[in-house]
Each structure stands twice: as structure tokens, then as C-alpha cells.
């Protein structure tokens, strides 16, 4: 049996994207649908989207990552091809307790991507390596 929730989430996100492309607005109905499926995360994620906290980072080697500025000012590195975020909320609610599919950063990424509201940044390969290896900044 296939999982329902991811499919529903995908559909709604797809609808968001289509609606935004057409009218540059998300109808109320969709916002509430998002809220139903993802829960309280949506408000926080939308807040991040409003702040344009999601950045697509590319490097000349062709690697891509996403960086999300958390509300505390911390930068979280998320990935293109899998739903993972290094934030503690993700570790707790998604990984440990399986309470949800994603954390607010990932949802913010998905929404920003659907609405085309991501910032872009290009970094050198060196910097990309550091980001991917999560080098601790002194």
C-alpha cells in the first residue's frame, strides 16, 4: 500500500505552484489545505517564505544545495533530492517520533520553490565543499 500523505502533500504543493504561476497568489482554500495537511508548520514555513529565507546555492561543479535561514539566524543546509534538514525539530518530530513528513525549513523550501521565491547564490567549489561538510565556523 502506498503512502497517502506524501501524495496529498505533493498534489497540494503542485496546486500551489499552478495557482501562483497563474495569479501570483495562493487562494485561501489552498492555504487552509496546506495547514490541514502539514499542521502548525505551515505558518512558520510561510513566515520563512515571506522573509525570503530560502536560497538555492550552486557551485561550478554542478552541485546544488538549499540553505534556509532559520528564525534564530542559523543557516540550515537542506538537499535537493531528499527531505532532510539538520535542525533539531526535524530530528525530533520527523526522525524520532514520525510526527510529520518535514520540518518548517523543508516546507519553506518546498513552498518557496513552488512559488519561485527562492534566492539564488553561486559559490565556489571550495565553499560548496565546506557547506556540504558542514564545517564549523570558528
Amino acid at each position: 500500500m502506498t503512502l497517502v500523505l506524501p501524495a496529498v502533500a505533493k498534489e497540494i504543493l503542485g496546486d500551489v505552484k499552478k495557482a501562483y504561476e497563474k495569479t501570483s497568489k495562493i487562494p485561501d482554500e489552498l492555504l487552509l489545505a496546506l495547514k490541514f495537511v502539514f499542521g502548525p508548520l505551515v505558518l512558520l514555513a510561510l513566515d520563512l517564505v515571506d522573509q525570503r529565507a530560502v536560497t538555492n546555492v550552486t557551485s561550478p561543479s554542478g552541485r546544488k544545495v538549499i540553505q534556509v535561514m532559520g528564525s534564530s539566524g542559523r543557516l540550515y543546509t537542506c538537499y535537493v533530492a531528499c527531505l532532510y534538514c539538520p535542525c533539531p525539530a526535524f530530528a525530533f518530530s520527523v526522525l524520532q517520533r514520525n510526527d510529520g513528513l518535514l520540518c518548517k525549513h523543508i516546507l519553506a523550501t518546498l513552498l518557496s520553490e513552488a512559488m519561485g521565491l527562492c534566492r539564488t547564490a553561486a559559490v565556489s567549489d571550495q565553499q560548496m565543499t565546506e557547506i556540504l561538510l558542514e564545517k564549523e565556523e570558528d
Binding site: A7, D28, N56, E113
Partner: protein, 868 residues
């Protein structure tokens, strides 16, 4: 001593409380001022309830000593509160996203609640510097508390830290620190902010304040979050109103318009949402146009489900506004927004219903590899339409549009490779332009021979050749990345190289079922990169990743392409070697028109090649082959030579010695020539060939592994001219002092002698030309031919003859020529006898191939030319 009602602290020191009720805190100043005792419990035990707190004002010293304990107990308290939160049965209406420091961001993130009444301010300052308290304010000035939620906090180093919760319209104050020398009255005042009696044990009901608009954390004005917040509030009010109405009145709502009457067949949990498989009971209440299906998957939030206690077999009514979502590929639509649901109680007594809570089956978590396919076109993010999840992984867990290749194929090679590596699928598809088609000769590796019948294959391997020819294509995607794709052997049976060239070269194709063999670099595959260099820089601007990932319309506008200055765009330094095992349609042509990205080989003239320095680059040219010295068997590791000329070289009137009339082209063993072409060349039929992507090495034109030799098919005006020239006698350079070895020239001279040491003749059969003749048994005078099994009465004689010539260009030079049969016959006349023949011709003009130039002295003179 009067005890302040409802106030107690569990721990002396920092206390954080979430306070539930709506009761107002009256400023009981009068009471405060009077004596009252505060009792403190120093236990660290978490009793799981925010019971009333009593604070006992202690002396300063005592507070100081307990300071450290506060910090420790604070963290424990947080932990306690988190447990508390988990255990509480939250109703749907309240949204409690209380991110405690321990459980959420460890950084400076402020606590965030959606709408809860618990206003928790930033506790970082508490954690980080519990002792050092710089800011000291009197909190009670703002403590006109009329709140539902509040956090009060005390630190007992004499400072009372108080955070008053916001009023309806007041802002939340930050942690405020007190002066060490705070008096008792101040303590009392600060206590005003504390709330009173919490609810009964075990139950904490969080309620939203009336107006949650103003928070410490503000949403962006006019932003989506603000909008959702407003919508949420409205929705919540509607829900609570509806519940009140329907639960209390127990109205029968079946038959009302828009109400879905469903029977729950099965229910399970997925990521804290409850998913119920339901069957429609009554269709009448809903418009048929809206609802055609009978079975649904209904999503309930955890709260709704537990409130209604939905179990399999229950009847539920779902009131509007619910929403139906159709999942592509699934038959059952999904119903969401099921806040307004009620369960229809069965009339009969449910005696059999077990009292204990039936736990619903919980689905395993979805894998992290899940990625949402958001885009129809190539998406920058989550472009999973081309992701193929292998069946072993799919199982029951993954929910991805797999295996059906709906939607466009990825047009970025790097992305396709990346996604294929990530998702672990066995192959991928990619769109690319075919730049070149050629055959690569490879040494056969043992693993290629693996088959069921290993014994047979071993035998085969030993007897067969050690080289295999593979059809390959060099492709380039729209981002400029090159890769070489090796196709399976079966392609040779279906068509020749020329056929595939004409079919694929220059066209935009889809490569199906591709696997990555390796990623090679310039250092490792010099030959490949010489070819790639010739295809760089591209003619058209390349696409660049990351540039405006969402085209507003389906057609890519030119602004999508970033054309970099050629100087900045450096040649590629890596190339992927791919392979496919797909026997049919591995390369599928998308558009029959030649792509803009295709860089056809630039056909030069031989003269240009000889005059200019092409360096270490490939060049293509068209020429007539007039003589070939091919190695017939490619096992022999010698190169072959083709002697070519073209009309320009032929017709050049200037007697430039530098540019020869005929050029020798070396064909290395790695260059594969079509069998048909080889035959034609061996028959010495002059043919015009197109040499594609030959390499100039030290002034010599070489046909290497990726060079393609193909017959020129299209007649051009120049070719017609050339043909005319060729039909007549070819003009060659004359043998001279500048002649180099391995060249073709004409020799003019007088025969001065015959090398008798090397001269011999032998009989051959006149019928079949076979030289295996035996003495006939019957008649010893005659010979018997072994191949045609008959007596040869009049055998022909073949001769090996080398002659010496005197040439006019250098009287000192000695020219030795080995003659072909034809020449010998011409010189001697046809004869059937074995006698020495007299040279009839003194002078002859022979076209010959210079075998070697041997210079006996450094001075010009006494050159010995060995000719063949």
C-alpha cells in the same frame, strides 16, 4: 499570613509556567503588601502540573546560593514541560508549537507558537547568562495582567526575573531582571504578574487569547503567514462553534447538503495523521457532479480522530467545507479539511466495544528520499519525473510517480546522473544532441564473455579475436556537458556506421536506459578530449543551472540562456562514459531537424592541412585514395597507409616541393574501417573518402580511434572536377632528392642492371593462380595443381625481380626497384619459358612507392633508393 492565591513555585528559582485559564489576575496589591508567606518547594520532581506556586521571599544570601540550582532545575523543568506537552491531549483548535530550547533549535531561536496562549519569550538570556543580569526593570509596571498565558520566571540570586505575559493588546515583555537589592514590596509587585489557579490535575487546556495578532514575533506585513494566521483564527472559531452546536444538540445531519456520509472500513496512522478508508453511504446529499466515486481515503487530524474516536466500522458525517483531492494514478480520491466531522452513534448498544483504547495501526515513516515532483518542465528542485525507483525499493513505502516516463526527459546530463545515483535506480534517460557517431575498437575484457555456457565462451574466447568493435556516440546536452555512449554489439547487425551517422548525427535524441560506466578526464582519455576540444566552444549559448528555474511559460525564452564570453567558458575537463544495454531504440531521435548545438566536422582541403599547423587537433578532409597499403588482418599490429590526393593538389601548377601531390595518411590499428570500404580499398578502386576527425601528429595525418572514414556520397562541383582529373593520369611527384620514405612518386630512368641475387621465378597454375604445384604423379614432366586438382600443362611464371635504374635527377644516386608482376610482364613481354629475358625497354617511367631512402653519406650523392 495570607497566601497569595494560586501561587506557588515548584522550584525556588527559575520557574516557567504555562498557565491555562482565562481568569484574570487581580492586582491584589493590598494583599500583597500585607504579610504573606511564600513557600517554596525545592524538589526537583516534576509532578506534571502547574500547580499553584508559592513564593517565599528569601534573603539575598539564600538566593545567591541557590542560583546554580536554578539553572539546573530550569533545564529539568523544561524537560518536564515537554513531557507534559506530549502527554496532553491537545484539541484540534489549539496549536501548540512550543519549541522548547531542549527540543528545538539550540540556538537563539525564539519560541514560536502559532496561536497558543502560552507566550514564551526568549529564554536565551536565561540559559546563557543566568547570573549576570544587566537589565533590571521593574516588571510590575507592565503587569496589568489579564491574560490567559504567561510565563513567570524567578531567579533567586536576589533578582526576580519576571516576564509578564501580554495582555490582549500589550506586547510581550522580555525577561526582566531585577536589582539585587529588591525589596520585599517589589517582590510582591512582581508576583502580581503571576497567574492564579490552574485547572484540575492532569488536564491542561490551552486556549487562544482573544486576539493573538500582536505577538513578540510578528509576521511580515501583508505576507502569506499573516494571511494564514487570520484564516486560521476564523477557521478555529468556526470549528469550535460548530462543535458546540453539533455535539451538544446531537443534530442529525444526514441528508443535509454537502454532508458526506461515510462508513469507515479501515483506519491507520501515517505521520500523526489518521487515514481512513471509507465508503460512501449516501450519495444523495452531495451533488453528483462533485462526487462520483464511492470509495475515499479520508484524512483526519490526530485531534479530530481521537475526539471522535473513529474506529473501523464507524459511520461518520463530514460536513462542508471539506476538500477533495484527486491523486494522479490513484483511484481513490482523498478528502481533507475534515474538521467538521461527527460520528454517528450506532443505535444498538456497543457492548462489545472494548474499553481500552484501540491503537490504530501506524504506518512506517516515509523514506527521506521522497521528493515531490512539483514541476512539469525540467525543475531545478525536486525534478523527479525522471526518477526511477527500482522495484526492490518501491515496495510499499515509496509514493513517487515511478517507472512511467511521463513528462519530459531530463535535458541535463549532470542532473540525470545525480538523480540516478541518488535514487539508486538502475538506469536513466537523458536528452542530448548527437555530435559524432563512430566505432571504437576495444580489447575484449573477460567479463564481457560471461554467459551461462561458460565453457563454450571460454573456447570461443580463445579462438576468437581479442578486439571488439563497438558503436559509440558522442553526445552533448544543452548545458554543454559531453559524454560518450557505448551501444551494444547488436547495433552492427542492423546497420552500418554510415547508416547510424546519417540517422543520428546532429539530431536531438533521447538516450534511453543509460548507465554510467566511468567519468574520465583529459589526462586519461586524450584522444577523446582532442575530439571534444574541436567541438568547443559551442555555437549556441548554453543553458546554465540555477537561472530562473521557473519559466513563466512553457517555451524557454532566450533570457533563460546565459551566453558567456568564450574566453570565460573553459573547455570541459571531464566526460562521462556511459553505456546502454538497450537493444532497440537506445538512441531515439526526437526531432529530425539538425540541432543548433551540432557542430559538424569542418572539411578542410589537404593543402590547408599541410600548410597550416593544426597542432594537436582534429581535422576533417575529403580526398581521393589512390593507393592503399592496408593490413588485411587487424590482429597484426601494424598500421595501414592510405595515399590520398585531391583535385587541388593535383592541379597545382606550382612545383612546390614542400607540398606533395600525394599525401600519406596513416591508419592506426584503433581506427575501424568499414568492411565494405576495406574491400573497395583493397581492390585498388580509386574512391573519394571523407576523413572525419583525423589527427595531425608531427605533420602526419593519422586516423585514430575516433576517426571515421566514409565514402563521400554527395557529388559537388569540386568532386566532379576531381573525378575528371582522376580519370586521366595522376600527376605525382617525381623521385628526387627531397623524396621521403613512404611516399608515392614517379620514377624516370634507365635500367642499368638487374639484381641477380634476388631474382627468381616460380610457376603458378594458369587457371587458378595458385602457386602450390606438385609434380604430377602420372607424368613427372608436368605439374599438378593442388587447388583445382588437375594437371597443369602450361604453367605461368611469376618473377621476383629487382632492377637498378639510373635516374636523371642525381647521377650519383642508385635507384633499386622491386618490380610488380605487371611491370615485369610489361618490361619483358609475356613469356611462358623460364629463360632470362632481355630487357627490351631501356627507359621506363614507373609509378612506384618509395620504400625507403637510404643515405649512405651525409653529402647528397650515392643515394640508394629502394623502391617497390
Amino acid at each position: 499570613m495570607a497566601t497569595h492565591e494560586g501561587l506557588s513555585v515548584k522550584k525556588l528559582g527559575t520557574v516557567r509556567q504555562l498557565l491555562p485559564s482565562k481568569a484574570k489576575l487581580k492586582c491584589q496589591e493590598n494583599q500583597m503588601e500585607s504579610d504573606f508567606s511564600w513557600s517554596s518547594s525545592e524538589s526537583d520532581s516534576c509532578d506534571g502540573e502547574p500547580s499553584s506556586a508559592l513564593l517565599k521571599p528569601q534573603t539575598d544570601t539564600m538566593f545567591t546560593t541557590r542560583n546554580k540550582a536554578i539553572v539546573n532545575s530550569y533545564s529539568k523543568y523544561l524537560h518536564m514541560m515537554s513531557n507534559l506537552r506530549r502527554d496532553c491531549n491537545y484539541s484540534d483548535d489549539e496549536f501548540h508549537v512550543i519549541e522548547w530550547d531542549n527540543e528545538s533549535d539550540q540556538g537563539n531561536e525564539k519560541f514560536q507558537n502559532c496561536d497558543s496562549m502560552a507566550e514564551i519569550s526568549d529564554t536565551d538570556s536565561v540559559l546563557e547568562s543566568p547570573v549576570a543580569q544587566n537589565e533590571k526593570h521593574l516588571p510590575c509596571d507592565t503587569a496589568e495582567v489579564n491574560t490567559d498565558a504567561e510565563i513567570s520566571e524567578y531567579s533567586s540570586d536576589g533578582d526576580a526575573t519576571l516576564i509578564s505575559s501580554p495582555e490582549n493588546n500589550s506586547e510581550m515583555t522580555v525577561i526582566q531582571r531585577r536589582n539585587v537589592n529588591m525589596s520585599a514590596s517589589d517582590w510582591i509587585k512582581s508576583a502580581q504578574a503571576l497567574l492564579q489557579t490552574p485547572k484540575k490535575q492532569g488536564e491542561i487546556v490551552y486556549k487562544t487569547p482573544e486576539d493573538s495578532a500582536k505577538k513578540k514575533k510578528r509576521f511580515v506585513r501583508g505576507g502569506l503567514a499573516e494571511r494564514l494566521n487570520r484564516l486560521q483564527c476564523r477557521e478555529r472559531s468556526a470549528i469550535s462553534f460548530w462543535r458546540h452546536q453539533y455535539f451538544s444538540d446531537r443534530k442529525d445531519c444526514s441528508g443535509q447538503h454537502g454532508v458526506l456520509s461515510l462508513k469507515v472500513l479501515k483506519i491507520y496512522e501515517e505521520c500523526s495523521m489518521q487515514i481512513a478508508f471509507c465508503q460512501l453511504l449516501e450519495k444523495l446529499s452531495v451533488d453528483n457532479s462533485l462526487l462520483q466515486e464511492v470509495e475515499f481515503k479520508v484524512l483526519f487530524t490526530k485531534a479530530t480522530a481521537s475526539l471522535l474516536k473513529i474506529r473501523a466500522g464507524d459511520h461518520v458525517h463530514i460536513h462542508p467545507p471539506w476538500k477533495k483531492i484527486k491523486i494522479p494514478g490513484e483511484t481513490c480520491p482523498v478528502i481533507i479539511n475534515t474538521y467538521f466531522s461527527q460520528k454517528v452513534l450506532q443505535e444498538e448498544k456497543e457492548t462489545a466495544v472494548p474499553t481500552q483504547k484501540l491503537a490504530t495501526e501506524k504506518k512506517p515513516p516515509p523514506p527521506l528520499l521522497l521528493a515531490f515532483n512539483l514541476m512539469e518542465n525540467k525543475g531545478y528542485l525536486f525534478s523527479t519525473s525522471e526518477y526511477q525507483v527500482p522495484s526492490s525499493v518501491t515496495g510499499s513505502h515509496l509514493m513517487l510517480p515511478v517507472s512511467q516516463k511521463i513528462g519530459p526527459v531530463c535535458d541535463s546530463l549532470l542532473e540525470a546522473i545525480e538523480s540516478y545515483a541518488v535514487t539508486g535506480s538502475s538506469t536513466f534517460d537523458v536528452k542530448a544532441v548527437v555530435q559524432r557517431v563512430y566505432i571504437l575498437r576495444q580489447k575484449q575484457c573477460p567479463y564481457q564473455k560471461l554467459s551461462k555456457h561458460s565453457s563454450i565462451s571460454k573456447a570461443q574466447a580463445s579462438s576468437q579475436d581479442h578486439f571488439t568493435d563497438r558503436l559509440c556516440v558522442l553526445v552533448q546536452d544543452v548545458y554543454g556537458i559531453f559524454s560518450e555512449v557505448q551501444l551494444p554489439f547488436s547495433y552492427f547487425t542492423k546497420g552500418s556506421l554510415l547508416y547510424y551517422c546519417s540517422k543520428w548525427e546532429g539530431k536531438l535524441c533521447i538516450l534511453n536506459d543509460i548507465k554510467v560506466l566511468q567519468r574520465t578526464t583529459r589526462a586519461r582519455s586524450a584522444g577523446l578530449f582532442i575530439l571534444i576540444d574541436s567541438l568547443w566552444p559551442p555555437l549556441v549559448p548554453l543553458k546554465v543551472h540555477g537561472n530562473s528555474p521557473y519559466p513563466q511559460d512553457a517555451s524557454m525564452t532566450s533570457s533563460q540562456y546565459l551566453y558567456k564570453d568564450n574566453t570565460i567558458l573553459s573547455a570541459p575537463c571531464f566526460c562521462y562514459i556511459l553505456s546502454t544495454c538497450r537493444v532497440d531504440d537506445a538512441v531515439k531521435v526526437l526531432k529530425d531537424t539538425v540541432s543548433d548545438l551540432y557542430l559538424p566536422p569542418v572539411v578542410h582541403r589537404l593543402r590547408e592541412i599541410l600548410e597550416n599547423d593544426f597542432g594537436n587537433r582534429v581535422c576533417s578532409f575529403s580526398a581521393f585514395v589512390i593507393y592503399s597499403r592496408l593490413q588485411s588482418h587487424y590482429l597484426v599490429q601494424n598500421e595501414s597507409w592510405l595515399f590520398v590526393t585531391d583535385s587541388y593538389l593535383q592541379s597545382s601548377n606550382e612545383n612546390k616541393q614542400r607540398i606533395p601531390r600525394v599525401v600519406a595518411v596513416c591508419v592506426t590499428t584503433s581506427c575501424v574501417i568499414d568492411a565494405e570500404l576495406t574491400k573497395a580499398l583493397q581492390n585498388s578502386a580509386p574512391c573519394e573518402l571523407l576523413f572525419k576527425d583525423a589527427v595531425i601528429d608531427n605533420g602526419v595525418i593519422m586516423c585514430v580511434e575516433r576517426t571515421v572514414l566514409q565514402k563521400e556520397t554527395l557529388p559537388s562541383s569540386e568532386e566532379i572536377k576531381s573525378l575528371e582529373l582522376l580519370s586521366g593520369p595522376l600527376s605525382l611527384d617525381e623521385l628526387g632528392s627531397t623524396t621521403v620514405a613512404n611516399s608515392i612518386c614517379t620514377v624516370k630512368g634507365t635500367i642499368s642492371g638487374v639484381d641477380e641475387n634476388s631474382a627468381y621465378s616460380w610457376p603458378v597454375c594458369d587457371t587458378c593462380g595458385n602457386d602450390k604445384l606438385e609434380q604430377a604423379q602420372k607424368d613427372p614432366d608436368f605439374l599438378f595443381c593442388l587447388s583445382c586438382r588437375r594437371v597443369v600443362t602450361k604453367p605461368t611464371f611469376k618473377m621476383h625481380l629487382e632492377i637498378f635504374l639510373n635516374c636523371s635527377f642525381d647521377s650519383q644516386a642508385t635507384v633499386k626497384m622491386k618490380l610488380h608482376q605487371v611491370t615485369i610482364e610489361m618490361l619483358l613481354g609475356s613469356t611462358s619459358s623460364n629463360e632470362q629475358r632481355v630487357m627490351k625497354w631501356n627507359k621506363c617511367l614507373v609509378k612506384s612507392w618509395v620504400h625507403s631512402v637510404v643515405s649512405s653519406t651525409p653529402l647528397p650523392g650515392n643515394h640508394l633508393f629502394g623502391l617497390g
